[in-house]
Amino acid sequence: MSFSPILISLKTASLAILITFILGIFTAYIVVSIKSKGLKMVIDGILTMPLVLPPTVIGFMLLAIFGVNRPIGRLLLDFLGVKIVFSWTATVIAAIVISFPLMYRAARGAFEQVDETLIMAARTIGLNEWKIFWKIMMPLALPGVLSGGILSFARGLGEFGATAMIAGNIAGKTQTLPMAIYSEVAAGNMETARGYVWVVLTLSFFVVVSMNYFSVKRFDKSKSNASERLMEGEEWA
């Protein structure tokens, strides 16, 4: 069992979540502030597509964008000397595109949960939109945003279909954990595959537990407050 797929997977998922996290929050914020309901629905639909499409379809579309014979792929190659297809960057791109909808939807839900009158109140006491976002929206939406981030990280870590199509399965370069498991099984090396499976199981379990930790922490907070109030009694006026 080589450690390279583990490292590649962790590197890929980490960089991908960094970008997805910021991009998802930013997009969610924009979509939440769109006033037209119809436009909101259409944009939301487009942004959610990667979640419902088969990953191979996403892979196909990514090839259609970054393929060396396609305009954008050609441009990147000719002017920057960057070849996306079958590079490590491609694994990151695939992970970002696939995990983005989870992050975006979680952040959007969390933002929409924030009581609208708080935002109105913030405006009437003079806070600008920037301050409202950082001091009111983000702190209140944080638990939801964080669990969205963890879920996206896990999704990026497990990405297979789109990665296979745009990044291939090059050992030591683009071979992530799911790829390695597939290759080892295909080659009949069940023992090695089992090792990778254990690694994935452990990582995923850790992710799910840490996600629960965030929601449990929220729950505990409200619980302790209720009992706190009971203990103190309601001091009126």
């Binding site: 009437t124 006491i125 706190e228």
Partner: protein, 353 residues
């Protein structure tokens, strides 16, 4: 100086059309829920943009559809006390109060301490909103508005979220805190008691339309319009029929000489508390006595309510008169089958529309 507003706003099939000019007084806006009161306040604060018209505060245009002026809520200098107070749950009392102050303000801390002292919040400064009572939350919200020295303060149903036994106390308390506030106050409520106690002048809203009524006490005493009388708590109305020299009150079966009224009223009203009950027959002009069958009674803690069907033959089947009396005055009498009620002429309210 003061607040001048003349706006129109269409939202789905609801039209808000408001026009008033308030000069440095406490304006009470009375209206049933759904009459557009909150929408009006949101237009004032800049949260909702009206379709057309203008809003001018102390000579400063906040909104003018013709000149294309629409000042942001942040710059309107309007204090808005929300119905649920809208305190930021993740900030302490002190942080809630101070967050609106500009960073550049050097006296920030001093100002926060001063206002917390004035609103008796110093002991709570490190508490979170969920750890303090509803009344305390309201004080925090009020302090958060007042620290910014607004030119006008909007109170949106400020006591509706509170228990009954707290309301009286807090109404007085809020009045005290506002006693040295020089700006306009606009109080929106569906509670006539609140409006009566806390406002100098009255505006009534119905289906998005506003009517200015003059001083609150005068408007409650002689409401002039039927819907205003209803909103101020009047329960009994009768259509008037012109019988030549008399007006005939159809729902009560009583007639009044035309000379009794200065104008031409369309209806008469009388409040449920204003009848005088007679337990035995008395001599009195017939148009001052209403005889009726007791249909049902409702007993409250301090009060009895009678629903009475007037006995006059020309009164329609569904006519009903509501009469309320304090239990202490009723003195534990048996509920009779019929009642004789005197209508004191000075309590008759002539209504013109």
């Amino acid at each position: 100086m003061g607040l001048m507003i003349d706006i129109k706003k269409q939202y789905k099939d609801f039209t808000l059309e408001v026009n008033f000019d308030n000069r440095g007084s406490r304006l009470g806006i009375l209206g049933a829920s759904g009459s557009g009161k909150s929408m009006l306040l949101k237009c004032l604060a800049g949260i909702i943009t009206p379709d057309e018209g203008k809003i001018i505060l102390n000579g400063r245009p906040l909104f003018d559809s013709v000149q294309g002026i629409n000042v942001k809520p942040q710059r309107r200098k309007i204090g808005y006390l929300f119905q649920n107070y809208a305190l930021f749950p993740h900030m302490t009392v002190a942080e809630n109060i101070g967050i609106g102050l500009p960073k550049a303000d050097k006296d920030q801390m001093a100002k926060i301490l001063k206002i917390m002292d004035r609103f008796h919040l110093t002991a709570l400064s490190e508490k979170y909103p969920r750890q303090i009572s509803g009344g305390q939350q309201q004080r925090v919200a009020l302090a958060r508005c007042m620290i910014l020295e607004p030119e006008i303060l909007l109170l949106d149903e400020p006591f509706s979220a509170l228990d009954d036994h707290l309301k009286d106390h807090l109404q007085k308390e809020v009045m005290d805190y506002l006693s040295d506030f020089n700006g306009d106050v606009v109080l929106v409520s569906h509670s006539r008691d609140e409006i009566y106690r806390m406002s100098d002048s009255l505006m009534v809203m119905e289906h998005g339309k506003s009517s200015f009524m003059g001083t609150t006490h005068e408007a409650f005493k002689s409401p002039k319009y039927k819907y205003v009388a209803k909103l101020t708590g009047c329960k009994n109305f009768s259509d008037l029929e012109d019988d030549g020299t008399f007006y005939f009150a159809k729902s009560w079966g009583l007639q009044y000489p035309k000379t009794q009224f200065l104008d031409v009223p369309k209806y008469l009203g009388i409040r449920a508390h204003d009848f005088i009950v007679h337990h035995e027959l008395i001599e009195m002009p017939s148009n001052r006595l209403l005889r009726g069958k007791v249909l049902r009674t409702v007993e409250d803690i301090f009060e009895l309510t009678f629903y009475i069907k007037p006995l006059h033959p020309s009164v329609s089947e569904d006519a009903e008169v509501v009469f309320k009396i304090a239990k202490s005055k009723w003195e534990n009498r048996k509920i009779p089958d019929a009642l004789i009620l005197e209508i004191p002429l000075e309590h008759l309210i002539p209504l013109y529309a």
